[in-house]
């Protein structure tokens, strides 16, 4: 259950580190403010302009380097479009992203939306099943032992390996793609929710016992808020994987969607479109990730420590 359980965002990492501090690393905690103070001081010494430069310049330089390498490759190989050609193509394409000529010829906007819809469906169903299951597994030792081996066995399986099962059961491409998303999204949500439930600080549970709270109050006032950061980490990992998988799944199933669109453009040998699609897939994935990071931050609270 190791890797996936680790929240990546800084806020949730802090939340996770706290139980450890609480266990008795009092010295470490005393040191931290000192480090923070030093960090603030060194920041103050710098001119504001140079800080801005350090923030903006390296990413721009990286981007320029990428474009340069691309340009060199394009000049050496005749089949590969230059950045300039691709940019012109993109300008044409994004001038009308929502056209509809025929079911197989639609704007990139419709394709992205179709993929997002599939991800939303599969992911939503996975959340509906995975989060309650995670709570149950985290709360009941018996269930944890019962499902643990199954999860460990099925989690490493590539989601695309499930696609034939989906086609067999649903007899149709679209539900099969959603099924693949479902199966790849569910594991991080189950695991992270379960770990979150297991790591609810004992102090909070003691409060619940002393106040003699009902099981419902324990769930809504203590377990759920405490588990939420872990759960949202699971959600974030899930949606990242889901977005990876949908492109591959759509290449196999066809229809409308960004994955199929890439494959279609490959068959048309329209390389600039493929490159544009890659950038679009990247941007959409990034936006999804950032939305969930922001959501996780809003629901992460300072945990108990002294």
């Amino acid at each position: 259950m190791g890797d996936n359980a680790k929240p990546v965002s800084r806020s949730s990492q802090a939340a996770q580190a706290n139980p450890a501090n609480h266990a008795g690393h009092a010295n470490e905690e005393e040191v931290t403010p000192m480090v923070a103070v030093l960090a603030v001081r060194s920041q103050r010494k710098k001119v504001p302009g140079s800080a801005l430069f350090l923030r903006v310049a390296p990413p721009l330089l990286g981007l320029a380097l990428l474009v340069l390498v691309w340009q060199i490759i394009a000049l050496k190989t005749s089949s590969f479009p230059t950045p300039w050609v691709t940019l012109k193509e993109a300008a044409v394409m994004f001038s009308d992203p929502f056209y509809r000529n025929s079911p197989n010829d639609q704007g990139i906007g419709w394709n992205v939306l179709a993929s997002l819809q599939r991800v939303g469906m599969g992911f939503g169903l996975a959340a509906l099943v995975g989060i309650p299951l995670g709570f149950a597994i985290g709360r009941v030792e018996f269930l944890s032992r019962m499902f643990g081996p199954i999860i460990s066995l099925l989690r490493p399986v590539s989601p695309l390996a499930w696609l034939p099962i989906g086609l067999l059961v649903f007899k149709s491409a679209n539900p099969a793609a959603i099924w693949s998303i479902f199966i790849c999204s569910i594991w991080p949500m189950i695991i992270n929710t379960a770990v979150g439930v297991q790591r609810v600080p004992q102090d909070y549970m003691n409060v619940a016992r002393v106040l003699n709270l009902s099981e419902w109050k324990v769930l809504t006032k203590i377990l759920f808020p405490s588990v939420l950061p872990y759960m949202l980490t699971g959600v974030r990992l899930s949606i990242g994987t889901a977005w990876l998988v949908i492109v591959a799944a759509e290449m196999l199933t066809g229809g409308v969607g960004i994955g199929f669109w890439v494959w279609d453009e490959w068959n048309n040998l329209n390389v600039p479109h493929i490159i544009i699609a890659i950038v679009v897939i990247g941007v959409v994935g990034l936006v999804l990730e950032q939305l969930l990071v922001a959501l996780a931050k809003a629901f992460t609270y300072e945990q108990v420590n002294n």
Partner: protein
């Protein structure tokens, strides 16, 4: 009736053995203690002497391996709001405001018999008692450590417990804040006539607050070494007591026990 008041909490022949991975650990042996109604008792001893374990036993968070614990002539079977605990690290829920943290307990204890307005009044009264009416809508991370601890005390008091159990409530605070909260606690306890059992490792705190100081021997298999009656008149004033000969004697007695008779376990080992 007198019997109930004199033995409000009755601890009889309590043994506590923890079964850990490394084997059995005998934490407490032959604990016999009674606490009268309205009495303020502190448990003092070196780290690891099991004073917190004893408090958790009274709270019902732990079950004794042997022996009986009674509260108001009824066996302590588990935690209950009638024995409210003030935790060392305040244990406020960080996603609730100060008001909501207190309301949670109030609602559980009085929700069945009182209406919403009464519950709200109780919560507000508890906040006012610890002087934190202004912090009602603040979350725990927006207030200082001393304020958090006061909310913790308010949460416990708002449930009108028969016994207030405090586990080193001021241990994490600086000396000035601690002194201030001790004075407030003395006033609150005088007003509410609460029965208090408090764990501390601060000798001055013990003498200043207590009616009786229960001194515990070093673990493992710790037990009650001596019990000291503190017969200082109330209300007590810390500045006046600093010059008081009687206060000095009590203080010396506790220090004598802790550093002569029960030298620190670390030094014993060395």
């Amino acid at each position: 009736m007198d019997n109930i008041n004199g033995k409000f909490i009755d601890i009889h022949g309590v043994e506590m053995v923890f079964h850990t991975k490394k084997g059995a650990f005998h934490a407490l042996r032959e604990i016999n203690l009674t606490v009268a109604k309205g009495e303020f008792v502190t448990l003092i001893g070196h780290s690891g002497c099991g004073k917190s374990t004893l408090l958790n036993l009274i709270a019902g968070l732990l079950k004794p391996s042997d022996g009986v614990l009674l509260c108001a002539n009824r066996e302590i079977g588990g935690p209950a709001p009638e024995r409210a605990v003030v935790f060392q690290n305040h244990s406020l829920l960080p996603w609730l405001t100060c008001y909501e943290n207190i309301y949670l307990g109030v609602e559980r204890v009085f929700g069945a018999s009182e209406n919403r307005t009464q519950l709200r009044d109780r919560t507000r009264a508890a906040l006012a008692l610890v002087g934190l009416s202004a912090a009602e809508t603040k979350r725990p991370n927006e207030i200082s450590g001393g304020m958090k601890q006061r909310v913790g005390i308010a949460r416990a008091l708002a449930m009108e417990p028969k016994v207030l159990l405090m586990d080193e409530p001021f241990g994490a605070l600086d000396a000035l804040t601690r002194a201030h909260l001790q004075d407030e606690l003395l006033k609150i306890v005088a007003k509410t006539e609460s029965t208090v059992v408090m764990v501390t490792h601060d000798v001055d705190e013990a003498v200043l607050l207590s009616d009786r100081i229960v001194m515990m021997t070093n673990g493992p298999a710790a037990t009650i070494g001596e019990v000291l009656e503190v017969q200082l008149a109330r209300p007590r004033d810390r500045v006046a007591l600093a010059q008081d000969a009687q206060y000095g004697l009590y203080r010396t007695a506790v220090l004598e026990f802790l550093y002569r008779k029960q030298a620190h376990p670390a030094r014993q080992a060395a």
